[in-house]
Every structure is written in C-alpha cells, then in structure tokens.
C-alpha cells in the first residue's frame, strides 16, 4: 500500500526500549501513566530489537474500510484517522484490519483510539520527549531521501569532504 502522509517513524538503531513514548502518550491523552492506553507501542524483542509502532496514516486506510459502522474517517490533508465515538462500538474490526497493530481499544471507554500526531498540541509529544531522538515525524519518501544521502555520502566520503 502507498504511504505518503507524515507519521511517527522510529529508528530501530536509536531506540533503546525505555518505553518513554508509551508513558508520555498515555499521560498526554489520559493524564495517567498507563501503557495500555498508549497509541504508540514499543516492541521489544530481546536482546536488541526495539522499535515503536504507531498509526502509519495509510492511504485508503484499511481500518476505515473495515469499520462496519462508518465510525472512522480519514483527514484528506494529514491522513489522520478520526473516530466518531458515538458510532464506534469497540467491535475491533479495525484493529484486526490494521497491518501494524497500531489501533488501541481503550478498556475504559470501549472505543478505539489511534495516533493523531497530537494535532491539538502542535507536535507529537512522544517525538518531543524521546531523548534518544529515535522518533521523528516523517514520511517514507523523506526517510528514503535521508537514507540515500547518507549512503552516498558514506560511499563517496573523500569526494564529499574534498580531501
């Protein structure tokens, strides 16, 4: 599937598995430290695989298509998926449809939640609080550009530095 919207990108070489992103997300959204309410989840496969996963703002998002009650809509400009709390009944079809496990069922409200990039606060708080700079707000094309530049710079280091 094509992805072009900006979303939270995690660099596994920088992520140390501390779980700050989960704590800050739950605090921002629900004023408690509770990873079960976090819309970003840190996956830790010992000993060294660590990566945080959140909504990737897919084009033609499968979660939106899957919802039998049309409770999910996608912002055409930013790609953010919005949940209509009156329509959502927590059935979980969207959770199963998501390829990334990025949708959370809030056990208290029985409604689904996903990353909205902290749109009301101007910037995603997990990115702000990630001390290892493992998280960034980015899009695949931007990541690819950066990777290409890095790899070419490395290959042709002498030419780049002029030495």
């Amino acid at each position: 599937m094509v992805t072009q919207f900006q979303h939270i990108v995690c660099d596994p070489t920088k992520c140390v598995g501390c779980g700050y992103c989960e704590l800050i997300c739950a605090m921002t959204k629900h004023q408690v430290f509770d990873p079960s309410l976090s819309r970003i989840r840190n996956v830790r496969i010992e000993p060294i695989v660590m990566l945080s996963v959140s909504c990737r703002m897919c084009n033609d998002a499968p979660c939106v298509l899957a919802c039998p009650r049309n409770a999910l809509t996608q912002d055409p400009e930013k790609g953010i998926i919005r949940v209509d709390e009156d329509k959502c009944d927590g059935c979980g079809w969207c959770i199963e449809a998501c390829d990334f496990g990025a949708i959370v069922l809030n056990p208290n409200t029985k409604r689904v939640e996903m990353c909205d990039l902290c749109a009301d606060l101007g910037e995603p708080q997990c990115v702000l609080y990630c001390e290892k700079d493992a998280l960034s707000l980015s899009a695949p094309e931007v990541v690819a550009q950066k990777t290409r530049r890095e790899v070419v710079s490395k290959l042709l280091q002498e030419l780049v530095s002029g030495s």
Binding site: C18, Q31, F33, S36, P47, E131
Partner: protein, 611 residues
C-alpha cells in the same frame, strides 16, 4: 504513587492476604531497600534457616515505578541471605517493577514452601498457584518467555530462577526482563528452596501521580541532563570503562586478588569490547541513559554467545581468573545469566578454586580432568556450568567461597575473598583504604554499590593508599548517599545529573505522591534504613567480629602496579571501623543505642535489640 497495599503470599498454605498500610507507615519506610528491609525485619523470624520455609522474600517497589521519572522504575528484594546469614538486599530495574506497580502493590512478601514446583501468577487482584513441572529445569529468560506464551499476553512480566536457583546454589539470583538481576547474596536460592520457579505479574491499572505537570517538567530536565557528559561513561562504554581505570590505579583484581594489574587488561577493556563485540546499548524501562552493553561473539569456539556485559562481571570472570579472551568472558557471563547466578560470586569462587589448583591444594582429579590454569577461559565456562548443576567440584563451589574454603582448608581460607560470606567485588580495597572500611562494615558484605566508599578514594579526595581516622565518617556519608538512591530507587548512574539530591529527590517524591518531604526527612530516612538493616543483622546473630576483611587484604601487600606495597593494616582497620561506628552513633561494639532507634521512630526495634 502508593497503593497502601502489601501482598502476602504463603506458598505452603497456598493462601494470600493483603496488608493495608497507612500514610504514616508509607512515609516512614517510603520504598525500595528501606521498605523491603522493614518487611524482612517483620516477617523473618529470629533463627530462620535462610533456605527454610520460614524465610521470606520481601519485595518493595519504587515509589516512581511506572512513571516517567528517569531511572526510577526499580524494585528491591530483601531476604535472609543463604550466603551471609544476614540481610541480603538486592535491587533490579525494568518492566517487572512497573508490572508490580500496575498490579496495585507497593510490596510483596512470599514465604513458606510449596509441595511441588510452582509458578505464581499475580494477575492484578487475583493470585494463582500454577504447576511448574514443565518449567522446572529451564533457564531464566526462556522461563519468562514460556510464561508469557502460556498466558498469551506480552504484558506479563516475570522474575525467575534458573537451574542454579533450583539447585540452591548459594549465590543464585532472580532474573527479570532477560538481563536484569536481583543479583547478590542469593535470593535465587531462597526462591528455589520454596520450589517457586517464577513470580509472574500482569498489572493493568493506571499509575496516577499527584502533580503530573511539575513531575513531567522536572523529569524531562533530568532526562535531558542524562544525555550530556554527566552520563557519558555509562552511555558509550558502560561500566566496562572501569577496566583500564582500575588497572591504572593498580586495583583491578587479578588472579584471585594476587595482583592489582593485569597484563591482558587492554583485551578485556570497555574500549576493546566496544570496538569488537558490542552490538547495541539498551535501556531498562523508563531509563534515558541506556547503559546495558549487549555484546555478541560472532566467531570462534564461543560463537553465538550474546549477553550484556558490566565491569563487575568482566573483572570477576576475566582478570580475576587470568582470562584475557573477551569471547570466553562473554560466554561465561551469558551462562551465568541463563543459569541464574551472580557473576561476581561465581567468578570470585572460581578464581579461589584456580588458586587452589595453582598451589596444588586441589588437583586435576578434583576438577574431573579439567586444568584450571590461570587464563583457561574454556575451563572457566565449564566450571560455571558445573556450579549451576552442582556437578563434580561444582557442588563444592556452589556453596560459595567461605564454605568451600572451610571444607577444603589447607591454608585456602587465607585467599577466600569474602566478608560475612559474600564474595568481594571489583575494587581491591588495599589500594582504596576508605573503601576498605566500607567493605568491612557493609550490612550485606563487601559491596561497591551499597557503600560507594570508593568514591573519595577514586576521586582523589583523600590519599587512597593511607588510612585515616576520618575514613569511617566518609564511609558513613557515602553509604547514606547510596541509601537515598536505594530507597527512592534511582539507578546510581544518574547521580551526576542532580545538583542536590537532598532537595531535588524530595521534590520528585512530593510531585509523585502528594506527601511532603524535606531534605531533613530524607537524611533521617536513609539513616533509618541503615539502622533497620543493621538491626536485622544484630537480631540474626551479628557480632563485631563479622565486620572484618579477608586475610589476604590484611597480610599480602599488592606486589606491583599503581598500588604497589599497599595492604590494610589491622590497627588502621580497627581505627576506621571505630570511626564508622561513632559516625553512625553506635556503641564501640557496633550495637545500636535505644535512643538512636527511638529518634528514628523505630521504638519497637529499640525494644528488640537496642542497648
């Protein structure tokens, strides 16, 4: 935050009850080592056999567990140590502590003995006693993974024992989150004696704090400071950075403390490891430092070994066994981790056996054909296995160096490096005379982490090669400083990020709990904690002769290097111990006056043991 709940589990009866504790109690014992020690004092009867059903494993959480307060997600566990017969208080970090908090408990006390191997599952408010027949025999981390698979929920965290704990190896530890251990003094043997393979927890409750905005702001500042030069050592090389420093000072324990410098130091240094073996630095839960250096051996006879490496493991299984092969050391550490044994005590016990071999006290036959000459890494790895399974000579070594030397005799007691039965740690006290008194008086034995008395020596604040009457007071001061971290449960690697722990830590405590705490309260708290620990020991038979050092440190001068000629003079040690007792307000016999205990609010303990 506090729940005001201590969960009591009796595995003999398969019964549980919740002890409700009020604000006064919580503010008095706060958490971590202080709360765990109080629970141990209250729940372990005098005369209890450390490996008998009456001993208890007393867990106490950090008040900060599960919050965003940096490096504050940790737990303490106190028990009567099968190595020392005194209080064994251990700390470990990461997600197990967060799970305990989210299950709704400030502490957990486990006693009794199961009728067959079990694993305990604390599922929020419910407690299940599950049959562990299929888990018994498994290594530590695979046990945790197996339990997660059984429950089918990644949120389940477990603290486990491996084959070493099952076989009551006296220095077996508790392991959680793969690489985190309540490591020293043998809590794994205690859990094994109760036939408990694991304590698993699923906590799903939200953690609330009194003042989230201020707590976030202060935590973020600390986390940012933790990215600066103040933690650089830990982030880049981790504690293995110590190898070359200790070698320069001539106090890198080498060949069972026969030397203080190691010709192979470069090859087992943090720098060498970083270049050739480190895969990645990873973090405990809620830690912005990330010191855990995960290494991987990619070729050779130890190919595939993969584990995290700290200085203490590196010296104990490396220089102290004369081993300069980083690959062999990594393999030995990985084995210890998976069998669930303290790498320090394992290394120091093996090095004692190697010196016995060197001196002909033990022979090739005693080692079942192994030739444990200094530097034989392969033999070290094999001895680690033999200890875990109590096979051949491993059965002797699994008793720890004090008991092994008492059994073998023939002069081997002279170089059995322990205090109170706990094996010595990674700084040769002959070249650090403040630390020498810290090692002698330590309530759990010689411990860099509890004492921190090596700091004035290492920083050059005092002449480290000479004793002095002020050293006891200095050692008391560093113990109190360390105590703050062990009670409030901050990892000490963040200590450089605080300007003034006595004001900043009470602030974080108030933001988290809503309870006021002044700098004086904190000073009194750490005093209270040390006095409870000492009171436990007195009650369980401590006398002044237990505060002493191994003969080698008192008789054998270091032969070469940066501390050449140094040893601890007995008169100096007596003087420093007296100055320590005096600084603590204890009697010249090291007993605690009644008034001292009453001034700390410990009236009942004053009745029990005060003089």
């Amino acid at each position: 935050m506090y729940w005001g709940k201590i969960l009591h589990i009796d595995v003999s009866e398969r019964k549980t009850h919740v002890q409700y504790v009020d604000e006064e109690w919580l503010r008095k014992y706060v958490g971590g080592v202080c709360m765990a020690s109080r629970l141990a004092y209250d729940n372990i009867p005098v005369g209890a056999d450390p490996l008998g059903p009456e001993n208890a494993l007393c867990f106490a959480n950090s008040v900060f567990s599960g919050t965003i307060v940096p490096v504050g997600t940790k737990y303490a566990v106190a028990t009567k140590s099968p190595e020392t017969g005194f209080l064994g208080d251990c700390l470990a970090g990461s997600y197990f502590a967060a799970a305990m908090k989210r299950a709704g408990y400030d502490g957990i006390v486990v006693k009794g003995k199961a009728d067959r191997p079990i694993w305990i599952f604390i599922d929020d408010d419910a407690v299940y006693f599950n049959d562990a027949a299929d888990l018994w025999g498994m290594e530590t981390f695979p046990t945790e993974e197996a339990i997660r698979a059984k429950v089918g929920d990644e949120r389940v965290r477990a603290c486990t024992i491996g084959p070493a704990g099952e076989r009551l190896v006296r220095f077996a530890n508790l392991t959680n989150d793969r690489g985190r251990q309540a490591g020293r003094t043998g809590p794994g043997a205690v859990m094994g004696s109760k036939l408990i393979k694991a304590i698993a927890i699923r906590g799903t409750k939200p953690v609330k704090v009194a003042d989230p905005q201020d707590l976030l702001a202060m935590s973020q500042k600390l986390a940012e400071l933790a990215q600066t030069t103040k933690t650089e050592k830990y982030r880049i090389l981790g504690t293995p950075a110590n190898v070359l420093n200790m070698n320069r000072l001539g106090i890198l324990p080498t060949r069972n403390y026969q030397q203080g410098e190691f010709e192979g130091a470069e090859k087992i240094s943090g720098e060498y490891m970083h270049e050739h073996y480190t895969e990645k630095a990873v973090a405990c839960a809620g830690c912005p430092i990330a010191c855990e250096q995960v290494t991987h051996v990619k070729e050779g006879e130890f190919k595939g070994a993969r584990t995290s490496v700290d200085y203490e493991s590196l010296y104990a299984l490396g220089s102290n066994c004369g081993v300069d092969s980083m690959a062999a050391i990594i393999a030995a550490i990985e084995r210890c981790d998976l069998y669930g044994m303290d790498t320090l005590s394992t290394g120091v016990t093996i090095s004692w056996a190697m010196e016995c071999f060197q001196r002909g006290i033990l022979t090739k036959e005693d080692f079942d054909g192994l030739e444990p000459v200094w530097g034989n890494g392969k033999a070290v790895v094999e001895l680690v296995r033999k200890i875990a399974y109590r096979e051949g000579i491993g059965d002797l070594l699994a008793e720890g160096v004090k008991r092994a030397a008492a059994k073998v005799g023939r002069g081997s007691e002279h170089f059995a490096m322990h205090v109170k039965g706990l094996e010595c740690c990674g700084y040769d006290a002959r070249g650090m005379q403040t630390f020498a008194v810290g090692c002698a008086v330590g309530t759990r034995g010689p411990c860099h982490n509890r004492s921190l008395a090596y700091e004035p020596d290492a920083k050059g604040e005092v002449d480290r090669l000479k004793a002095g009457p002020e050293r006891g007071k200095l050692a008391k001061g560093t113990e109190d400083f360390a105590g703050v971290f062990d009670i409030m449960m901050f990892c000490k690697f963040i200590r450089g990020c605080f300007k003034d722990i006595w004001s900043e830590i009470p602030q974080l405590y108030t933001y988290t709990t809503g309870f006021a705490m002044t700098p004086d309260d904190l000073r009194q708290l750490t005093e209270r904690s040390w006095n409870i620990k000492k009171a436990f020991n007195i009650r369980h038979g401590w006398t002044m002769k237990d505060d002493w050092l191994p003969p080698r440190w008192l008789k054998d001068p270091l032969p070469s290097g940066g501390s050449k000629g140094a040893y601890v003079k007995e008169d100096d040690l007596r003087m420093m111990i007296q100055s320590y007792y005096e600084a603590r307000g204890w009697t010249p016999e090291g007993m605690i006056p009644k008034e001292k205990l009453i001034s700390l609010g410990l009236d009942d303990i004053a009745e029990d043991i005060g003089v």
